[in-house]
């Protein structure tokens, strides 16, 4: 970036003449401001170092604020998505940890609406005082905005195996494209398209419109709107469709404004609840709604183990003025079934020591076969990252303004100040679906994404980036690794894996952890985790660029996908790498393949990449800009030990009507590769990657 461009842009940033004239007209209409007399002066404008002047109240009658028409009854308001936080699966974790309430940190007791009311009010006040500065947590993993759910990468199909690229075997993750091997389910706006996965005979069978019938939003007064389908999950003969409902923040309407009478008014919409719609798909040509189970907040993620579905949402109490001590629904999350809603029981709501604002993480378990909710737990404190093993669900929240005492207790390095903390909460998952808060702990730094946490043999391994200022006032970043016990106390650590590099990707595979960091080159660290108290770095391999995603490719092989880099530390293009990890003390790169495209969803979302070691195939969607348009391609590579990576096929896919590339998922079913997006489904035969069928998903 040259300095010149800022000046050029700054010059252009002016309102239209119309807007300026309108402003002058309003100033005129206001008249000359009364000259303040000595005794009644307007209080001195605070110097910028003090309290900010309060934002002006909406102007009185006569100049209503500009309105977005869609608010008034137009069908089409949709959420532009919350940051979708990728869920985490754990590695193999055979044993179950019993819930140990006594180890939960001070102040986590629940069971009392009074205490919850006070806590929410306090959190609202604190976050309001800090204002917008604490709005966006700096430590949130950068998965970018998620639209209508995410594509499901396909793994080699087996009878019950998920076709989504998941972190942990046996734990399915929700995604925008799903399949049970017979039928393809594709999220498309507010609909779900069902197609027969039949090779050359692939065709559309039916569509589910989530705004009809029992699935419809809870109120039709224009104040509740439904967003697009966020994600899908399949379990047996049930399709679970996740949608988020939005409710207008009525207090923002101001007094005396009735929707429909004023020409314009601005109103924010908040995610009020996320619903899991369960459909019976025994006959995919006629899906039937079984039940609608909702919980407050916007969807974070969902996981499936057997026929137990876990849904995690993030619920923010956005309107402190609406909080009433005698109405629990105004300050705790609510659960709904069909049209019936009730506030969560106080005994299921927990507080954490450091909450960053009035937001709850809500976790529920649903028995899909019985179409019933089993249990619910919510934690006032929120979380940005969710990780799951078959026994536990971990919530990780990044705390940016932690007091020094907490930093010390968490083991933050003494030579760096103002670092972030990651607060961890463990929720134990019982076989019958019961949930219980089991432990809490904190570690220094922030986690990258779900892969940075992993449970193995009753211990949690976490890779973090610790960033802050050192004594010389320089900005430093450090990569660290922590091993915690079932009580989430640190038992072993590598507090400084490498200095001045940030974590780019992590993969824990049993007793070994692989961590990729990046500054100019891409060291791939191999860490021995056999002794939880003594993690040891075994080797460090340096290559240019970095891998954003690591995947095990059979015995002694590790696949990496990420960005190509040069010796100056600049990144351009993408690349695939294969590493030889058979000798942990000397991990080496066997081969790499450069991919000359701008970007790929797979860099930030592991669902987008298809990795099938059994067939030697890797599939990844890539995009590039050509003038004003975005082009979308799906690349299929074959990896063989003798020949390395070979491009087997490059497939052109359609973009949407807006010229943007939709999310794509590749699924391997029988002898075909299905490339599915909300725009089209293309079917290719694996033998020669010839096109077997193309189905356009019409609007």
């Amino acid at each position: 970036m040259t300095e010149k461009i800022f000046g050029e842009m700054a010059e252009q940033m002016r309102p239209s003449n119309e807007v300026r004239s309108d402003l002058f007209a309003r100033i005129e209409a206001d008249g000359a401001p009364a000259a303040p007399s000595p005794g009644e002066q307007e209080p001195a404008a605070p110097s910028p170092g003090e309290q900010e002047p309060a934002a002006p109240a909406p102007s009185p009658a006569g100049h209503p604020r500009r309105l977005h028409r869609w608010f008034l009854g137009a069908a089409a308001a949709v959420v532009a998505a919350s940051l979708l936080i990728p869920a985490i699966g754990g590695a193999d974790a055979p044993s179950r940890s019993d819930p140990i309430p006594s180890s939960v940190g001070a102040g986590a007791a629940s069971g009392d609406y009074g205490a919850l009311y006070a806590a929410v009010l306090d959190a609202s006040r604190r976050s309001a005082a800090k204002g917008w500065r604490t709005g966006m947590a700096a430590g949130v993993s950068d998965t970018g905005l998620a639209w209508a759910g995410e594509a499901v990468p396909a793994a080699a199909p087996a009878a019950n195996e998920s076709l989504t690229n998941t972190q942990v075997e046996g734990i399915d993750e929700s995604d925008i494209v799903k399949s049970d091997g017979r039928t393809l389910f594709v999220a498309k706006g507010k609909e779900v398209v069902l197609l027969a996965a039949a090779g050359a005979a692939t065709r559309e069978l039916a569509r589910i419109n989530t705004e009809n019938g029992g699935a419809a939003p809870s109120a039709k007064d224009g104040l509740v709107l439904q967003g697009p389908v966020v994600d899908l999950m399949v379990s047996g003969s049930t399709l679970v469709v996740f949608v988020t409902e939005y409710r207008a923040r009525e207090s923002a309407l101001g007094e005396g404004v009735v929707p429909g009478t004023e020409p314009t008014a601005y109103v924010p919409f908040d995610a009020s609840q996320t619903k899991a719609l369960l459909y019976d798909i025994t006959d995919p040509t006629a899906p039937r709604l079984r039940t609608s189970l909702g919980q407050s907040g916007a969807m974070t993620t969902s996981r499936l183990v057997g026929s137990l579905l876990y849904l995690v949402t993030e619920y923010v109490v956005t309107d402190p003025d609406a909080i009433k001590a005698d109405d629990a629904k105004t300050f705790v999350p609510a659960l709904s079934e069909g049209t019936r809603t009730a506030a969560m029981k106080a005994s299921n709501c927990w507080l954490v020591p450091q909450s960053q604002g009035p937001h709850y993480t809500v976790v529920t378990s649903i028995d899909v076969a019985a179409a019933k909710r089993v249990d619910a737990v919510s934690v006032l404190g929120g979380s940005q990252t969710v990780s799951m093993s078959t026994s536990n669900l971990y919530l990780a929240a990044t705390i940016n303004d932690a007091p020094a005492a907490d930093l010390v207790r968490a083991g933050a390095p003494k030579d760096i100040t103002s670092t972030a903390l990651t607060q961890l909460t463990r929720i134990a998952l019982a076989d019958d679906g019961q949930l219980s808060l089991a432990a809490q702990g904190s570690i220094p730094g922030s986690v990258l994404n779900q892969f940075a946490l992993d449970e193995y043999q009753d211990h949690l391994r976490v890779a973090t980036t610790i960033a802050g200022q050192n004594r010389k006032k320089r900005w430093v970043e450090r990569t660290a690794l922590y091993v915690l016990d079932a009580q989430l106390k640190t038992v072993g650590s590598l507090p400084s894996l490498v200095k001045n590099e940030t974590v780019q990707s992590v993969r824990f595979l049993g007793q070994v952890g692989y961590v990729v960091t990046f500054k100019q080159v891409d060291p791939l660290f191999t860490v021995d985790l056999r002794d939880p108290a003594k993690p040891v770095v075994l080797s460090a391999l340096k290559v240019p660029g970095f891998s954003a995603y690591l995947h095990s490719w059979g015995e002694g092989r590790l696949l990496g996908f990420g960005r190509q880099g040069n010796s100056k530390g600049e990144t351009n293009g993408l690349k695939l790498s294969m590493f030889d990890t058979s000798d942990r003390l000397a991990v080496a790169q066997i081969t790499a393949k450069e991919i000359r495209f701008d970007g790929s969803e797979a860099l930030s979302n592991h669902h987008a990449i298809l990795v099938a070691p059994d067939s030697g195939l890797i599939g990844v969607p890539v995009t590039l800009w050509s003038g004003e348009k975005q082009r979308l391609r799906y690349l299929v590579y074959r990896y063989q030990p003798q020949t390395g990576f070979e491009l087997a096929k490059k497939i052109a896919l359609n973009t949407g009507n807006d010229g943007r590339a939709p999310r794509v998922r590749g699924l391997l079913i029988d002898n075909h590769l299905y490339l599915a997006s909300a725009v089209q489904v293309k079917v290719l035969s694996i033998a020669d990657f010839g096109e077997a069928a193309t189905v356009t998903l019409k609007n």
Partner: protein, 183 residues
């Protein structure tokens, strides 16, 4: 003036040369570009930016804040614009609602467009940043504020400003080399 070190309520006489008596209209003409730039980069669309711009100068006009210097006036306007933009964007955590177009893709309300593709790309990347980083980058690169000045305006420590600058820059680099156009 370094906002961070200025004492709150100094009552000394201020030489007139430090603060011109300007009519509101003249203030608008002098600071319109600055206010609009902050409004644009902190709201979702052009309409919202227009609102924030108007509300800021109206507030200035109605409140007639007591100012000690031109620097102080500038700082008051910057802080007020940020507040207006925040309020207008709604403080719903991480969620926004936009009109739905065909096939479920969002159709953005009218966006501000720059002259060149490069400038639009930069703007897009800037808007994609988390707000904490974005504010610091905008004040630093577009408004030529010093790190100390920004710390004073936002009431944070200098180290926090530096941290956000460096992280913001790194994130911008990431976005501009490919991330922002993914999906």
């Amino acid at each position: 003036m370094d906002g961070g070190t200025q004492d709150a309520r100094q009552v000394e006489q201020i030489p007139e040369s430090c603060l011109e008596m300007l009519s509101t209209r003249e203030v608008v003409e002098r600071y319109e570009r600055m206010v609009y730039a902050i409004a644009l980069t902190h709201t979702r669309c052009r309409g919202d930016a227009d609102d924030a711009y108007q509300e800021t100068f109206l507030a200035y006009h109605r409140r007639q804040p007591e100012l000690r210097s031109e620097e102080h006036r500038k700082a008051w306007l910057i802080t007020t614009t940020l507040n207006c933009a925040r309020q207008i964007s709604g403080s719903s955590w991480r969620t926004r609602v936009v009109p739905l177009g065909e096939e479920g893709r969002q159709v953005a309300p009218e966006q501000f467009e720059f002259a060149s593709i490069e400038q639009n790309a930069l703007f897009g990347a800037l808007k994609a940043l988390p707000q904490a980083y974005r504010t610091v980058l905008v004040l630093f690169y577009f408004e030529d504020q010093t790190v100390a000045g920004i710390a004073g305006l936002l009431d944070v420590s200098i180290s926090t400003v530096k941290m956000r600058l460096s992280r913001g820059r790194a994130r911008m680099r990431e976005l501009l080399t490919g991330g922002v156009f993914d999906d």
